[in-house]
């Protein structure tokens, strides 16, 4: 089992399966707040659902109202279990706080390479680590 150090943005200890976007994600216009499905046709995850997944992405892009999309995901019960980014910025920080979704960043490695879609993870914000259980 591999351990990765993190910085905690929004607290929460969760265990789940990773869904990894290799490219920056625009929540506004790129994710459907009603279904949790990724609608950005340029993203390799196009058509996949991030509901109940640990969603891993390098950083976010696009309109700042993306925060409202993240909040909408949680209101509609289709939110991801947690969010992991290489670099947290305003859009996702605001969204994760409003929606109360555990969110971590600043890992030692590029998470979109270290973590693969389907990997089982434990995010532990009390210790500021991710435990990676490879399948």
């Amino acid at each position: 089992m591999k351990t990765i150090k993190i910085r905690t943005i929004v607290e929460g200890t969760v265990e789940g399966v990773a869904l990894v976007s290799p490219i920056p994600i625009s929540f506004f216009g790129g994710v459907d707040a009603e279904t949790g499905i990724i609608t950005d046709s340029e993203n390799p995850l196009f058509g996949e659902s991030l509901t109940d997944k640990i969603f891993v992405f390098p950083e976010s892009k696009g309109s700042t109202v993306g925060s409202y999309v993240i909040y909408g995901l949680s209101v509609n019960n289709v939110a991801p279990l947690a969010l992991i980014a290489n670099k947290a910025e305003t859009i996702v920080i605001a969204g994760a706080i409003l929606a109360n979704i555990p969110f971590v960043d600043k890992t030692e490695h590029d998470v979109t390479i270290t973590i693969k879609t389907g990997d089982k993870l434990v995010i532990d914000t009390t210790q500021n680590i991710i435990k990676l259980k490879k399948e």
Binding site: I9, V10, A33, T64, Y68, V69, G72, E89, A94, L98
Partner: protein, 415 residues
């Protein structure tokens, strides 16, 4: 004197942020769940950006108004806020909506869109936000003062507040500016700190900069080349607010530049510390030409002229009127000018409007070509004098735009 409290580490991992009693109470939920969330959002954004305290703001300018740019998710967020009946605590103004609130049918807006747009504006209004619906609050009497701390979110307004007025605001998002409007605070980082307001690049402007479109081309050129870096422009002869707003808007659009200095014109320019300048570049005629040729795309018949990005001032509108003289706009071409309702309310402005309408010029307020759905959908060949508008309207690849000076535009579309 306020007592300094350390934020509760346990709750959300705050590290180096010191809050006063009032802020701590908000965070602890004494003013309700919604306010606790909103101040937490500000604290966290601050922490990630190295802030150690929150500072009070004078006012807020809030983006995220057009239904086109916020969509359905905004309503869930409004529900959360209205449960606690939150109100803004400082003067706050709204960015443009997706339609003229009166003449929306004339624009070609559909009923469903109009209904949702009205609901959004009503929700903001219920929070005590003034429904100015403009990206240029400084043109309707809300001029920031030198040194004021603000939370503005429209990118061109942010750059004008910083550069032209010497006020201090980061480039906020819709959610963070709203959080600041309600709590009255923003985090002390970025452009709120003097040391982060210094230029790193000197731009020697050798090209002739006369028309609004020239200022716009300069801004577009700079932003595209030097993303996010504060410039210091030299050799710009005239720099009135209408010219500077074209420069700042284009730079913010192409390069997220939130602050700039113009030698002899902007208030911080004279005393600003130039010791961090690491490069001097030149903007010459060939650079200017390159921007105009990049946005020289309209091959087929032009069907729309769109002026007013950022929103026009009365002076801008007078210039359209005088440039047009006795001529009228040719049949089959729409000539749309975007402005704010506040400017159109006095008798002089109304007369100007009627006069222009007779010549085929339509003035819409509360909205613009970028945030209204109809411009992109219904008009494929557009002329504009704004590089910011050209940038946004060509992003999806479905519209052809040409950037021209106002006089060239009028020459082409009037008779």
């Amino acid at each position: 004197m306020s007592i300094q409290y350390r934020t509760k580490q346990k709750e959300y991992g705050a590290v180096n942020m010191f809050l006063n009693k009032e802020q701590q109470k908000m965070l602890d939920g004494e003013s309700g769940h919604a306010i606790a969330k909103l101040i937490q959002l500000i604290v966290k954004i601050g922490e990630v950006n190295g802030a150690t305290k929150l500072i009070p703001i004078k006012n807020a300018q809030i983006a995220g108004v057009s239904y086109l740019t916020v969509g359905e998710p905004i309503f869930s967020f409004f529900n959360m806020l209205s449960e606690d009946n939150v109100k803004v605590s400082v003067p706050s103004w709204l960015n443009p909506a997706g339609m003229d609130m009166k003449k929306w049918k004339e624009m070609g807006i559909k009923n469903d869109f109009a209904e949702k747009q009205r609901r959004i504006i009503q929700q903001y209004q219920e929070m005590g936000i003034q429904t100015t619906l403009t990206c240029t609050p400084y043109l309707i009497g809300h001029k920031p003062k030198f040194g004021d701390h603000l939370a503005w979110s429209e990118s061109s307004a942010v750059s004008i507040a910083n550069a032209y007025y010497g006020a201090r605001t980061n480039r906020e998002g819709g959610p963070s500016s709203l959080a600041s409007a309600i709590t009255g605070f923003t985090a002390d980082y970025g452009l709120h700190k003097k040391e982060n307001r210094v230029p790193r690049i000197v731009v020697n402007v050798k090209a002739t900069i006369n028309h609004f479109s020239d200022f716009s081309a300069l801004g577009y050129w700079y932003g595209e080349k030097f993303h996010g870096i504060i410039p210091y422009f030299t050799s710009i002869k005239n720099a009135n607010i209408d010219q500077v707003k074209m420069l700042g808007a284009a730079m913010a659009a192409s390069g997220s530049v939130a602050h700039f200095h113009i030698a002899k014109h902007t208030p911080e320019a004279e005393k600003v510390d130039l010791s961090s300048v690491s490069e001097t570049v030149t903007f010459d005629e060939s650079d200017k030409k390159q921007i105009y040729s990049h946005f020289n795309q309209t091959k087929e018949r032009v069907n729309l002229v769109a002026i007013g990005c950022p929103h026009t001032s009365i002076e801008d509108i007078k210039l359209i009127d005088s440039s047009l003289g006795d001529k009228s706009i040719k049949e089959g071409i729409k000539f749309w000018v975007f402005s704010s309702q506040k400017l159109m309310q006095n008798d002089k402005a109304k007369k100007l409007l009627t006069n222009l309408e007779e010549k085929g010029v339509k003035i819409f307020t509360d909205t613009c070509m970028v945030v209204s759905p109809v411009v992109r959908e219904n008009y494929k060949n557009i002329l504009t004098n704004s590089a910011k508008a050209a940038f946004y309207l060509t992003r999806e690849g479905t519209n052809k735009i040409s950037l021209l000076s106002l006089s060239e535009i009028i020459e082409r579309v009037s008779e």
